[in-house]
């Protein structure tokens, strides 16, 4: 606000001074030169009339000679004044219009509007820095779940793109450098409802700087960063960044888990999938045999590390070994796009192929050539750009790795359902059979769409009825909560995956466990079941019904009547 007013004041100073000066001179002349009254006698013109005349003369409105016809002396003066005053008016108006179109002024206005909108946010929100592929995917998934986000990006084109994207919630966006703490502050870093900062720019140093600024300006806030190098990761961790995601490491670890425990991977995919999308098929990467890795960059190195831990034989194809560095043995020089190189790497008797260069055309070419030589290959493709999706869908790769989507998914789960992230970490230490059993239970629950996964907080806001019962000492069990509030003998299609009680995590709790105030539950199932559960937790009568099966009198009068009838009932046998 202040900026705009000061900007206008500063710029308008000279035009206004000129305007006042010219008006004063013109008015003084008009008053000094003798005028004529209606009878033709000379009278001085008053200041009021002089001001009136000069005002309409200078704005070229021209009402004529008022209050009486002018003398020739007055006309000579007016002839000069017309040019001076009109010119100054045009100058003043021109300056004002130029000011309105000025880019500094425009930016001041946009920034002010943005600040106001952020300040007025009444729902918890996340501050997303960087609206590239990852940021875009994250904002979309957040808004699809009706979470709010505020975006900062340095590129005006991407900010405009955000305005064109059709988001479910309004997303305020600012085109500014996220490196500058003032911009982060404008975007609501110190806002009481800011739940977290997500640094997703494509420059590691910027992400690091955002993490530092966030930790200093709002220490209790959750900070999530993207990092591509281990050095930066360590640096981020040292300033207290809560979660750091490296897309290549994350994906390579997922592949290693998929080789060991396919069900576990499927479980993770299903639970963190976007609701309403078809359920994915399980993948079975070959756990024995030799894999060929094309490209030994950041992705290739991560894959090499995790795959070699699975005791798989590996052959690396790398075009620029002096730049990337290569493992000691099993290296073939070349790009991998030609059949010769692939044959040299022994593609015919290999079981898996990782097309992991940073060039999408190369990756597609590698896959096509390799599948011609050996159609039974299990192909993992690295997709660098989202717009090549349609090609990767057709090329015949079993798994497509898109860095931006992987990070966006992880962060979305972490932000949207933190308990799910904890549950998946827990699941990682379980046997594959355990995961397979859970997968089949989920499959029975939902037809073939990804399940709805949500968190339930047992508190006064979300579950007043439940808290009320708990305070009275009535035990409500998980099984009771999962009863259908319309017919309690049926149970809702919901699985409680985890219960958080006094900071103790209890995965897959028993139905007989009592729910206490302050608990958090992680549930998965159908979306409509979550609405039924909310009903039970909020409405005391519904809760009583699912607990006892009674549908008692609800209103005050009916309760009074029921009490009377009960008393009469008791009294009657005594008389007899």
């Amino acid at each position: 606000m202040d900026n705009i007013v000061y900007l206008i004041m500063r710029r308008m100073r000279v035009p206004l001074l000129l305007l006042i000066g010219v008006y004063a001179v013109a008015m003084a002349g008009m008053v000094l030169i003798p005028a004529r009254d209606a009878a033709g006698d000379p009278v001085p013109m008053s200041f009021f009339h002089a001001f009136y005349f000069v005002s309409y003369m200078s704005t070229t409105i021209g009402f004529g000679e008022l209050p009486n016809e002018f003398t020739d002396a007055q006309r000579i003066w007016v002839a000069f004044c017309v040019f001076a005053t009109v010119a100054v008016w045009v100058y003043a108006v021109g300056t004002l219009i130029a000011l309105l179109q000025d880019s500094t002024f425009q930016r001041a206005i946009t920034e002010r509007r943005f600040r106001k909108r952020v300040r007025r946010l009444r729902d918890p929100f996340y501050l997303v820095c960087g609206y590239g592929q990852t940021g875009g995917a994250l904002v979309r998934s957040l808004t699809d779940r009706h979470d709010h986000a505020v975006v900062i990006d340095i590129d005006p084109e991407r900010v405009n793109l955000l305005k064109l994207d059709d988001q479910r919630e309004y997303v305020p966006a600012l085109c500014a450098d996220a490196c500058q703490p003032a911009n982060l502050e404008a975007a609501g870093l110190q806002h009481a409802l800011c739940k977290g900062v997500v640094a997703l720019t494509n420059v590691n140093e910027v992400n690091l700087q955002i993490a530092i600024a966030a930790k200093l300006m709002h220490p209790r806030i959750k900070v999530i960063c993207r990092a591509d190098s281990h050095e930066i990761e360590a640096n981020m961790a040292s300033v207290g960044t809560d979660h750091i995601y490296d897309p290549f490491d994350t994906f390579a670890l997922d592949m290693a888990i998929a080789i060991q425990a396919p069900c576990l991977t499927l479980l993770g995919d299903w639970l963190s999938g976007v609701e309403g999308e078809p359920l994915g098929e399980p993948i079975y990467p070959p756990s024995k045999g030799r894999w060929v890795l094309c490209g030994y960059g950041r992705f290739g190195k991560a894959m090499y590390r995790y795959l070699s831990e699975q005791d798989l034989a590996l052959t690396v194809i790398e075009a620029l070994p002096h730049k990337t560095g290569v493992p000691k043995e099993g290296v073939v020089h070349g790009r991998g796009t030609e059949a010769v190189t692939l044959e040299q790497a022994g593609i015919q008797d290999a079981v898996g192929l990782v097309a992991g260069t940073d060039n999408d055309a190369d990756n597609l070419s590698i896959i096509m050539t390799a599948l011609e030589l050996n159609p039974d290959l299990f192909v993992v493709a690295r997709e660098n750009h989202l717009h090549n999706q349609i090609l990767f869908d057709r090329v015949g790769a079993k798994v497509v790795m898109l860095p931006s989507r992987i990070i966006a998914e992880r962060i979305r789960v972490r932000l949207g359902t933190p308990l799910l992230a904890e549950f998946l970490t827990f699941a990682r230490y379980q046997e594959d059979n355990w995961a397979c059993e859970l997968v089949s239970r989920i499959a029975a629950l939902v037809d073939d769409e990804a399940p709805h996964v949500w968190e339930v907080r047992v508190d006064e806001v979300d579950a007043p009825a439940l808290c009320d019962e708990d305070r009275r000492g009535t035990a409500v069990t998980i099984a009771q909560l999962l009863c259908d509030p319309r017919a309690r003998e049926r149970s809702l299609p919901v699985i409680v995956l985890m219960r958080l009680h006094n900071d103790a995590r209890r995965p897959l709790p028993e139905g007989a466990e009592r729910i206490r105030t302050g608990d958090r539950l992680l549930c998965c199932g159908r979306a409509e079941a979550s609405r039924c559960m909310t009903w039970t937790m909020r409405n005391p009568w519904v809760l009583r019904y699912v607990r006892t099966g009674e549908t008692g009198p609800d209103g005050g009068v009916w309760r009074w009547l029921a009490r009377r009838r009960e008393q009469a009932h008791k009294a009657a046998p005594a008389k007899r």
Binding site: R10, M12, R13, I20, V31, F47
Partner: protein, 127 residues
Amino acid sequence: MNPEKVVFGFFIVLALTLNFGFFIGEIDNPEHHHAWELFAVVLVNLIATVLKFGDRTHMGALLLATSLVAILQLVTASLIWAIAAHATTGGVTSSVTASIVSLSGGAMIANVISVVLLVIETYTLRR
């Protein structure tokens, strides 16, 4: 010496001195208060106000506020004069003159504050 400061101080002090010149005299005697004087006072006050635009300091804001008060009082005085002279049958009577002059007296106090602030600012600068 900063020429900007010279012009600035000149107009602020001139606003006060002219205002005083208009104000002085018998309060209800139109002979003692000339229209040209009021014209000059309004003009110089307007210029002083515009000169104060765009100063972000607290002192600048206060100076602007005093000027705005003076302008408000002086414009009201001019309006009363114009209405009395042209829109009423009575003309500029002694009671009208009294109210015009007392309004300009109020404006003078605002101008005095302006000058005092200016002096304080100069004093705190010590350069």
